[in-house]
Symmetry: D3
């Protein structure tokens, strides 16, 4: 795959995952570091999210879980919205968090559930 | 749910997830700390894995991801087998690891892929 | 122990640990996910804090340490108050943080000390 | 406190915590990096363990907890022995691990309990 | 080295690293815990930053990297300024973050780049 | 840059960093997952290590630091060798570890120093 195609695949994946508002916010990175922006789009979304072996909703289960585990709560918020956008139900999302409580402990799970409740409210 | 039922639900979930050999190894905990063993079975497997909002294969995607993220490679081995047992394909499992590389970095992803290759070999 | 007893033991432990204001805030989880709330109370506080092998002040030393280590600063605030409530002195709490500096590094220890100073001020 | 006193205080703390065999093993660091060895003894043990606000057994509760939380299992082994040496009972040590399960998740707690069982066996 | 010299070396290192405003903020720790303040200055800055085997700009590359890796974003802000003060260019600092993306994943790298952009703006 | 060039740049960076023995070992990944291998080479080494804003020895300071911080000791071993290969001295490498002790705590720093001593012995 040529680099231009990787970038285009990344942009397309981002359109499926994120609202136009979220994508607009992300583009600030383009000003800060055009090179880093290119990597985020081409590798992060083009190389990874565009692959076929997992569906986008399976990928968001992976993404939510790793963000909960590493306590990356700012990014979690954005991917909770993405999870809803690619078809995971609120019940499934909350269940990912509940399942995590046994693997990462309650502090991170409780904080994640609080953030999920906010995101759900804003997306009603 | 009574406590006895929680324990029984946990034992049943463990039978779906793990080979009899793995379960036998796990039971050493019963000798070390009967109370901790009871919590592992009743809470870890009874309360969490027996719930319905996610399938066992979705739960193993969550479990693999959190173990990769926290670098818990001993437990990863056991859950890679469990993932195969509940119906995830080798391709899907490798894809979980590949997806994680963008979220946890290559060191943990590369180590996880090496362990997966061993587990796959032993389960051919 | 029946489930009802586990829940009651959890509620009782929470009353010993937290002010009524904190407990009221925690109950928002009851609305978000009644199932998760039940696990937090019955497992997190009923199964764990109600056991006898460690005193509540010893348990709070464990809790503060794990929260400092994982950088869970929101939960740390609540448990700094709990630590005072179950009888740890300010000097002992600061000493837990100082001891941690050699094990988790100064960034997390310094941030924890700053939060402790705020909590102490609010509890004078 | 002069530097010589800090070093002496560190050596004395190490004698209370560790067996002569363990201390002998630790001294290999003296050959690798004399400067780093001096810091470990003077800061790690002299400045931290010699302070009075917490007892050595309280300090080992902190140390075990942070090692469990960060998955530092090699160091955990040594400090499980130290915990026994400064008077914590096996029951108290296992309870620290059980309490941690709710805060760091079961994978790290289970692995820690397995290591504790080995250490207890070797110290019977 | 006597303790007084360690403290003085620490104060001198802090003057090379931080603006007077930042140092003034740090001194609040002196009120909270004079003992902890003494350790931060004498060990954290005196023992570590004053050593000769690495330059201050190399030390800030180490410091930025560990803070990015552990997600210690509050401390990262202060050390991004320190990195500029000891002569790292904006381009080099951004490159440290970009290099980290392959080792810690994009969530922490993206958050770090956003903080760097703010710090650069305030230091123009 | 075309994909073929990214891969070639990655292979060239790996040749500068690693011995032929290490590179041969890494190529096992090519059999396990050709796609993941391609990402490691093209993104991990081609996109990241081939950039000009940092020298290879500065990049290895970043890499060592992040591996020490996340406790990725298997990868650390390989990159300690790479650090020597790109011109860092043993003294500088040990100093990176010593500096880290104040940021990640002694357990990880001590373990890293032990591994460094082994690598240095094998490379005499």
């Amino acid at each position: 795959m040529e680099d231009k195609k990787r970038y285009e695949a990344g942009i397309q994946a981002m359109e499926e995952l994120f609202s136009s508002e979220v994508r607009k916010g992300m583009q600030e990175m383009k000003q800060i570091s055009p090179d880093f922006w290119e990597m985020i789009v081409s590798f992060g979304f083009g190389d990874l999210y565009s692959r076929e072996a997992l569906s986008l909703s399976q990928r968001e289960i992976v993404t939510l879980t790793t963000l909960i585990t590493q306590g990356a709560f700012d990014q979690l918020k954005v991917h909770l919205e993405a999870a809803l956008n690619v078809g995971l139900s609120k019940e499934e999302i909350m269940e990912v968090i509940i399942h995590c409580s046994g693997y990462v402990g309650f502090p991170k799970a409780v904080q994640s559930m609080g953030i999920a409740a906010e995101v759900f409210k804003n997306n009603e």
